[in-house]
Homo-oligomer: 160 residues x 2
């Protein structure tokens, strides 16, 4: 199949200078402030964004090198299929985070609840819409006894 | 900034042979069946996926040509900044959908609630985890009077 090439539209700035010690999910990153710097040529695309309280950020796990089809997630001690995890070492290392939008200042978005490393290349911004994006999910597989721990758990260097 | 090249890990098969007439969001695609065909070399990454009732699919809006920084969404008659919309004509045309997983059959995932066109190139599969992914959002900007309509609304050809 054809491959696809994407150019970052901006960069995500956060207090996390390395993956080690980062929260592993936004639920553990409550209130952590960051900024999204959108390249000037895309500024016009930010019109109307300020009306939303939450945004979906798509970005590249740029520190992740190569991938594994089975990984040992931060929350488990067993090998799991990578597509059953949120680990960054994926065939296509694209991540998404839902963040709170605090303020728009020209092409800078001030955000909260951010769980990525400083300098993360941004691919896309979408408005979060509860009617589209929230789900009542009945089954969360191997995470069923672990998800509650995610809030406290910090990252280490295993996926860089 | 450096660009990033991604190779699809599979393909999404759906009943929608063209964008015209498609639901514009999974909330309007309830029960629509589809399959995700993962390339054999990635099969091992599907281990443990069957435990989850919902999955996040990341894919390429491959029919989308070029992009606009301001678009007229299906749900509105005003031009909106593209990053305040879910329109496919984006600088990096990556989409995400949350689908219901019905059954895993080797490297084929049987899914429901799918809102993409047949043949869509798949970039990633992630488990949907309510604790990580659900949000109570207070503000949905220009969509505040429109989101309720999304369920019924069908796509046309404007974004191909």
């Amino acid at each position: 199949m054809d491959s696809f090439t994407f150019e970052p539209i901006g960069i995500i700035r956060t207090p996390f200078t390395e993956p080690k010690g980062m929260p592993i999910q936004p639920s553990g990153a409550k209130g952590i402030p960051g900024t999204v710097k959108v390249a000037p040529e895309y500024s016009r695309g930010l019109k109307d964004v300020e009306g939303f309280s939450h945004l979906v950020l798509l970005y590249v796990f740029h520190l992740s090198q190569g991938y594994s089809l089975e990984v040992k997630p931060f929350l488990d001690d067993k090998l799991r299929g990578v597509f059953a995890t949120r680990a960054p070492k994926r065939p296509n290392p694209i991540g998404f985070s839902i963040v709170r939008l605090v303020k728009v200042d020209a092409n800078t978005l001030h955000i909260e609840d951010i769980d990525v490393v400083d300098g993360t290349p941004l691919l896309d911004i979408k408005p979060f819409v509860p009617d589209f994006d929230n789900r009542e999910s009945e089954k969360i597989g191997w995470l069923s006894t672990k998800a509650v721990d995610a809030e406290m758990k910090k990252s280490d260097s295993r996926f860089t």
